[in-house]
Symmetry: C2
Subunit: 330 residues, 2 copies
Amino acid sequence: MAEKVTIATVARHAHVSRQTVSNVINAPHIVREETRQRVQEAISVLGYRANQAARQMRTGRSQLIAVRIEPTRDGINGSVLDRFLHGLTEAAETAGYRTLLYTAADDQQEIATYDDLLSAYDLDAFVLTGTDHGDPRTAWLAERGVAFVTFGRPWDDPTAHPWVDVDGAAGTARATAHLLTRGHRRIGFLGWPAGSGVGDDRRAGWRETLRAAGIDPTDLDRATEDGVAEGERLMRDLLVAAEPPTAVVCASDSLALGAMQAVRGAEPAVAVIGFDDTPVAAAIGLTSVSQPLAEAAASCVDLLTAVLDGDQQTPAPVLLQPSLALRHTA
Amino acid sequence: MAEKVTIATVARHAHVSRQTVSNVINAPHIVREETRQRVQEAISVLGYRANQAARQMRTGRSQLIAVRIEPTRDGINGSVLDRFLHGLTEAAETAGYRTLLYTAADDQQEIATYDDLLSAYDLDAFVLTGTDHGDPRTAWLAERGVAFVTFGRPWDDPTAHPWVDVDGAAGTARATAHLLTRGHRRIGFLGWPAGSGVGDDRRAGWRETLRAAGIDPTDLDRATEDGVAEGERLMRDLLVAAEPPTAVVCASDSLALGAMQAVRGAEPAVAVIGFDDTPVAAAIGLTSVSQPLAEAAASCVDLLTAVLDGDQQTPAPVLLQPSLALRHTA
DNA sequence: TATCCAAATTGGATCGTTCAAGATGGCGAG
DNA sequence: CTCGCCATCTTGAACGATCCAATTTGGATA
């Protein structure tokens, strides 16, 4: 293995001092152009790369961002976070950061991990996914002045910290509007029990769109835990109503898949629209609301760099618009 | 924010020297029991955590493992690597390592990233997924004495480096055997063009099992690129043969999904078995060969720790057995 | 030509840890 | 009683970068 190339090696090679090399890297403007080029050449000739550990010891910054990876959850919806993770890694890389993964069983353990990562690895920032009402994690981080962004709104106070989110209500609204233009009037909704920010948001988009069209959403709304079997059960329940729906909007592809199974072979066909545009939806031709996950991830990195570069303490949140991936179930 | 707790803080608090604290952490056996306990107590009282950057500067080890995350590939099969990643992160964590992500467009760029990660972050090891014949990446790493494990066999030389893999041939063999016990005799195979290690392996399991049962596999074999549409096309092609198959084993769930679409409504039903047990398979009730991904990830970490702790240069490879997730397509 | 100022460069200290070598004290053998 | 040995603990130096203060250089000015 070739011997280690340090900043001193570069300095010798370019006939300058260590500090000048450091300046070329961190503050090029204070170095004379001619010197700068000579050093740059030495750097590339020798293949020099600053040792992060040494830099970090002086500066306290590691160029590392941490993201939690959840234990393989629901097989269908789990892919959403994975796609977000892909986008995040790419965006972070172009911004000069690397992505570190960690796991945690619950909020308390996650906070312990923050502590560990911060003191052991000097992490620069955290990206949290899926915050809920009164999240202890964001409070802990904010209290200690740690930089972080959440993918998902803080439902209590939208100005509490930087966040990126996708407008779920707009998504279900778009889905509902699409069904309305196709002539559907009785459009049901399968969602989650009230109380979760995300679930309530998605339900609201459907409800308000129906109301705006002069349709009473009451009796067309069903809620339960997420899952295919649950979706099927809810849909059957909707179908036996006095005036069964001719279409249904769902809060997830899991629920939508269940709904599809419940209406299989029905005449006339019942339209179904899911949420998240998962691979399952694409595979079986399920129309679904699609979140711009790569864009969301890039926005997270943008906000983080804004915070880390000290430009702003709390950059403006980003709310992205979903689109409708049209397939043949609606 | 509380002031930083360093090894010196602990030393003062326990009335010993820095080095003794270091010894308590790294070589407890050379410290007197009484002293050890006193130091340990100081550590937990102060909440001390060794600073990785500083440690790394002396030891050259970072307790960091790197894994590549691919740009969101095929929506259906992509989840396999994601599930592996989940398992890997968990296993690495319990072994005292953290997982770092990186992306790369091609092999050459990936090698450049190795170089970067090694010199900038002093990475301890790499986990590679999906190696192919004559992989330049493994050669590069081996040449420099970098520790790494591949998830996937080195098809050229099984002793080239440590690896973990799932026995794909055993998987398709098991699927084929299952179909045979269900009375099927003409069992087709949809796979990838010859040349890819994984694809050839999966095909071999099916072929040899048929041969062992006295059935000639010729004419029952089809190959193409992966994808749902391709699977459907291949299956239609198989069906118009002189003696069409009554069942088919596929090299992926994508192909299997295509096959299912091709035989939809056929009487008698044509049995279909996929490979990878993806969420899509679970969602639509497709019987599929299931890889023990969490176990594979854990094995990777085991091999890595064996290499990193210097126990062995090339620990014995691990070949895991897949199982058959029975659902209602076979 | 001497003086001064700003820009560019230099050397030394420092971050927190581990390594290498040295100091201390107790104990048994000679 | 003294020596050497072992177990235990302490001291000084080093890893590779950046920060700080001091110094040199080049060019403009008097």
